[in-house]
Amino acid sequence: MAWTSPKTFISGDVLTAAELNVHLRDNLNETAVAKATTAGRIFVASGANTVAQREVASSFTQASINITGTSYGSSGPTVTVTTGTRALVFYGCHMRHATANNAPLMSVSVSGATTIAADDAWALISDGQPALNPIKAMSARLFKTLNAGSNTFNMQYRVAAGNADFERRELVVIAL
């Protein structure tokens, strides 16, 4: 049942079961405490007078992968959460290129309820390093155009040329 603006009671009026069910039972059922099911979740406003429980999730992969493609591919790790239209995403890794002065790039794509391709506009990029000199850094993106529902966030990789190694890869998603 939806939220109803709590009524103002008047002396002399008969209090009915229907009123208590609407203004007490149904409204209490809309509160965060009524909807809370899992420890560690947060609550966000999902609409007018509507709140939703959301997850903060992460995935870490220590293993190294070698990338030779100049287009984004080779997903991983991934995180799947139920979101509204937004999600705050953090991503970081340790990356190094085999050749001096070449760029490894790491970005995030979205699949499931929403399709958003990985893009350099929100990528982690390191260019100009000597060969095999790594950096470990992070970037973040607030995705604001998601379709509400189950969305999967994928870390993806590419190189400008040559090949690069990516390891210690971490993805954190705060569903909103």
Binding site: S5, K7, T8, L24, A32, A45
Partner: protein, 176 residues
């Protein structure tokens, strides 16, 4: 209140303990739209909730950096309603037109609070050959440093030698 058998329930009691208390719950204060992005419920004080926002601004264009001070090249900006704190995350692609020049991107606050840019909380790129972009993220928590109200957060840039540029700029602010 604690209800007692045989005691008449009054309109005033229902208004205080039912109506007024329900009006303090998260669904009562949640709205369908906010000028400050996604709404997250936070504790305002004892038995008091408030919603603050998480929002972002992006600018994919290139801005030229020619000064050793933060005042010349600035943007984008994001205004956010906050209490005393805000979590700021920004990701920027930086380069330089000469080898081994240090390019910086910091954040300042204006509006309800004045806090100047500072290298202490800047994203820095140094030691790379000219025209090689590095894109990475930085985080700053203004913790109990803000005056409650609408604060405007603005990215600024400087370089220690010659000139450089910044592009693919994203600023995320979580009001707290």
């Amino acid at each position: 209140m604690t209800f007692v058998n045989g005691t008449a329930l009054t309109a005033a009691q229902l208004n205080t303990h039912l109506r007024d208390n329900l009006r303090e719950t998260f669904p009562a204060i949640a709205s369908s739209t906010s000028p400050y992005g996604a709404q997250v419920c936070q504790v305002r004080g004892r038995n008091k909730l408030v919603t603050y926002g998480i929002d972002s601004v992006t600018n994919t264009g290139t801005i030229q950096i020619r000064s050793s001070n933060y005042t010349e090249a600035v943007g984008p900006s994001l205004s956010m309603l906050t209490n005393k704190s805000a979590l700021c995350i920004w990701s920027v692609s930086l380069d330089s037109t000469v080898d081994n020049a240090a390019t910086y991107c910091s954040i300042a606050v204006s509006g309800a609070t004045d806090i100047d840019y500072n290298d202490l909380w800047s994203l820095q790129r140094d030691g790379a050959p000219l025209s090689n972009f590095v894109r990475a993220g930085m985080i700053k928590m203004f913790y109990n440093e803000l005056n409650p109200g609408v604060n405007t957060f603005t990215l600024g840039y400087r370089i220690n030698n010659s000139q450089g540029s910044a592009r693919h700029r994203e600023l995320i602010v979580w009001g707290l």
